[in-house]
């Protein structure tokens, strides 16, 4: 169980989130939809320990996340092109996490040839798929998908979601989906949370 308790995030003098609490169990798919500029991405970064919260706690299975080793909560960011080292091939960046085999590449519609190229040689949608594959490391327990399929065409989008939902069932992955696409959230998520700003 990924549990968020009384989490507050203040960034640059703006109070983005004010003591929010929610929980996501293993094998659950939680959708979060809020207007642009609400702070969804920042929340995702805090959950995956990319940055610290102002107050409150994030616990997995009752224990706070360790600062060392592989973080079981993984974030697939909105702009995957910014998370690849521009001087290394995408394959090297991918293998820093794990080495998926050929069937895995095919499931995620990743062409093996893309892994020998550098990020600037690939399109946004291709990088999005590699970033998603990287985050599907077997050690990942919770996956935060921040608008991951916004850059994909409908065919690939449907295929990627099929794989993600299979993983949710197969290994009881906990999935948190940030998206603006209400139709998408309704189809994939077991529950949807639409936070509102007071006043």
């Amino acid at each position: 169980m990924l549990e968020v308790r009384e989490l507050s995030i203040v960034q640059d003098g703006h109070r983005l989130w004010d003591s929010v609490s929610f929980q996501v169990g293993l094998g659950e798919c939680q959708g979060i939809s809020a207007p642009s500029g609400f702070g969804k991405t920042t929340l995702g970064r805090v959950l995956a320990q990319w940055q610290t919260a102002t107050s409150g706690s994030v616990t997995v299975g009752g224990k706070p996340l360790s600062k060392k080793g592989y973080c079981p909560v993984q974030l697939v960011p909105q702009h995957p092109e910014l998370t690849f080292n521009p001087y290394r091939t995408t394959g090297e960046s991918l293998r820093d996490a794990w080495s998926p085999d050929a069937p895995w590449l095919e499931r995620m519609a990743v062409n093996p040839a893309w892994l020998t190229r550098r990020p600037d040689e690939l399109s946004g949608g291709e990088l999005a798929r590699i970033a998603l594959l990287r985050a599907l490391d077997p050690r990942t327990r919770y996956l935060i998908a921040d608008e991951v399929t916004a850059q994909l065409d409908p065919h690939i989008q449907a295929q990627v979601w099929r794989v993600l939902l299979e993983e949710v069932k197969r290994r009881e992955l906990g999935l948190i989906v940030f998206s603006h696409n209400k139709a998408l959230l309704e189809k994939v998520c077991s529950s949807i949370w639409m936070p509102q700003r007071d006043g």
């Binding site: 640059d12 291709e126 065409d153 690939i156 139709a183």
Partner: protein, 268 residues
């Protein structure tokens, strides 16, 4: 009228000793954008849609070359002409938010972009433009890192709105925006069309395209597969491939439908 005439893009594959072979990425693209028209360009990812827009401004990377003509109001654009027209007749809204310079505040950045395209802005014009897209006017004094994805997209769009370019090439302008803001932005773009500007809009969002675009051009396997009107798309006309794309939308059948041709091998 902005016209791509039998336009093609080749990509170089490098071998030993700098020897390279050219492989076609896009071929035989003929597309017209009339003033007052909003043309949506759809296709699979990695198809070369962004490159098509970039080539109109002479922004292709070194390992690519293009042939065929880009005709602007009856004149074929030369390589130098493409550079000259940047921002003046043709304006490009890039896909990635990394296009914003992280070291320049939003206000000066937009002012500079307008200046480079030959427009002198009155003080306060940038803030007003931002307000029009529901952004705080105080944002002009912020650095781009403080913007969320959707906010950055709107800043990039204001950049195009502030210039007097007659043709706007907008790359995925609505991704990361919520429905309300996306519709607002597109309504604003439609307003530009009524002023006589032409817009080429690359998108994956067929639902929005069917709602706002006048004409929809479909790229498939490196060629312009078909061009149809938004009405035809809504009435599910078009090739089987386009129909399967439509059916795969989350609003339609989405996960329920298996599409055999999807997979890494279709990109090999």
């Amino acid at each position: 009228m902005l016209k791509f005439d039998r336009f093609a893009i080749d990509i170089a594959h490098y071998h030993w000793l700098g020897h390279k072979t050219w492989h076609p990425l896009l071929s035989n693209i003929s597309l017209e954008i009339n003033p007052g028209e909003l043309v949506a360009l759809v296709g699979s990812s990695g198809e070369g849609k962004s490159l098509l827009l970039q080539s109109a401004l002479g922004l292709l990377p070194d390992n690519m070359r293009c042939h065929g003509d880009i005709v602007l109001d009856g004149q074929v654009l030369s390589a130098a002409g493409k550079v000259d027209q940047r921002g003046k007749s043709l304006c490009y809204v890039p896909q990635g938010v990394s296009a914003l310079n992280p070291l320049i505040k939003v206000g000066p950045q937009l002012n500079r972009a307008a200046q480079l395209s030959g427009v002198t802005l009155e003080p306060g014009a940038v803030a007003r433009q931002l307000q029009q897209y529901n952004l705080q006017p105080g944002l002009v004094d912020e650095y781009p890192r403080k913007l969320s994805g959707g906010m950055a997209k709107r800043v990039l769009a204001s950049c195009a709105a502030l210039t007097h370019a007659r043709y706007i090439l907008a790359d995925e302008i609505t991704s990361w925006l919520d429905d309300e803001h996306a519709c607002q932005l597109l309504t604003h773009l439609k307003g530009f069309c009524q002023q006589g500007r032409g817009i080429l809009w690359v998108t994956h969002d067929l639902a929005l395209a069917a709602r706002f675009a006048d004409k929809i051009a479909v790229l498939h396997q490196g060629e312009l597969h078909e061009t149809l009107s938004a009405k035809e798309l809504r009435e599910s006309a078009g090739s089987p491939w386009l129909q399967s794309l439509w059916a795969a939308l989350p609003e339609q059948q989405f996960l329920a439908r298996r599409v055999p041709e999807v997979g890494a091998d279709s990109y090999a």
